[in-house]
């Protein structure tokens, strides 16, 4: 089943580096498709926030002449949230540690997003 395949992409992603703590795939209107999140986190919340952020990012990039959106990165003092399109209808959201090596994270996440885009 496709959901299983998306789940296994997320497992691979979370396992690919200790920097990545959690990840989820969300439809662009904010509903969870697949998630590997800590139990303390509310899936629906993550879904809605990812959709809102990515959509605003899309519009901001366009309105301010930055072209097509590639990713939205949020940095807090305890880590990063990275949101990236996985095809036109889905968002891949990844939570990474504050100490993460971003170059590697970007690379892994981009690859995962490409695989997921083929599955949604």
């Amino acid at each position: 089943m496709r959901i299983d395949m998306i789940d296994s992409v997320l497992s691979d992603l979370n396992g690919s580096s200790a920097d990545i703590e959690a990840s989820s795939v969300v439809s662009t209107d904010g509903l969870i498709i697949a998630a590997q999140l800590p139990s303390t986190m509310d899936e629906d919340r993550v879904g809605a926030m990812s959709a809102a952020m990515l959509s605003l990012g899309d519009r901001t990039a366009q309105e301010l002449g930055r072209g097509t959106l590639d990713q939205v990165l949020v940095k807090g003092d305890e880590g990063y949230v990275l949101m990236i399109h996985a095809g036109p209808d889905a968002v891949l959201t990844v939570l990474a540690k504050a100490s993460a090596r971003l170059g590697l994270v970007f690379l892994d996440v981009k690859r995962a997003a490409e695989s997921i885009a083929k599955l949604v």
Partner: protein
């Protein structure tokens, strides 16, 4: 130059995005996304972050219009968008199965903001309701101990939307559209 911010909210499909498109003097910023539950919500797209438009008044003042998403899962946007607002417009889709409950839900969710500012309520989709009944909303407002403007409004109609805006502004500042005082008139 003065800036004022008004927020549009209400359940999915009540006409928030349309209302802002109708009122705005500038191209509207929408965050419409394809709805995966389009059958359930009865429309192909849905707002996921916000809509934004503005009204430019002759006086040089600007009214910024912000529309919220309708689904509860986006309620974090409700807090974000009401920050600094001077008033709230709630649109209720009269053709929904239980529009009074919808209105009650939004009056509750926004109660703090409503008590600090003002609210006006537009009842939409009455053209496709068999028996529009505004009394049920009035009864609800009584239960919430609210006295505020409420009338039928078509989100596509600029006149309806201006009327809704004006009624909100009037309840914020009753002097806004008052005619100049007449000269002493002896006749009674």
């Amino acid at each position: 130059m003065h800036h004022h911010k008004i927020i549009f909210t209400g359940p999915v499909g009540s006409g928030k995005t349309t209302a802002i498109e109708t009122l705005s003097d500038v191209p509207v910023v929408c965050t419409d996304q394809r709805a995966t539950d389009s059958n359930e919500i009865g429309k192909p797209n849905t707002t996921v972050a916000m809509d934004y438009g503005k009204i430019l008044l002759k006086s040089g003042e600007t009214i910024h219009l912000y529309g919220t998403p309708g689904q509860d899962r986006f309620d974090f946007m409700w807090d974000i968008l009401t920050e600094g607002g001077i008033g709230l417009i709630i649109l209720v889709d009269d053709s929904n199965t239980n529009p009074s409950d919808d209105l009650a839900r939004f009056l509750t969710a926004f109660s703090d903001f409503i008590h600090q500012t003002a609210v006006a309520i537009g009842v939409t989709h009455t053209d496709i309701t068999v028996l529009p009944d505004l009394q049920r909303y009035h009864r609800l407002l009584e239960r919430f101990e609210l006295c505020c403007p409420l009338f039928e409004a078509d989100a596509r109609d600029p006149r309806d939307m201006s009327r809704l805006m004006e009624s909100l502004l009037l309840s914020l500042d009753p002097g806004i559209h008052a005619p100049p005082p007449e000269d002493n008139d002896e006749t009674t």
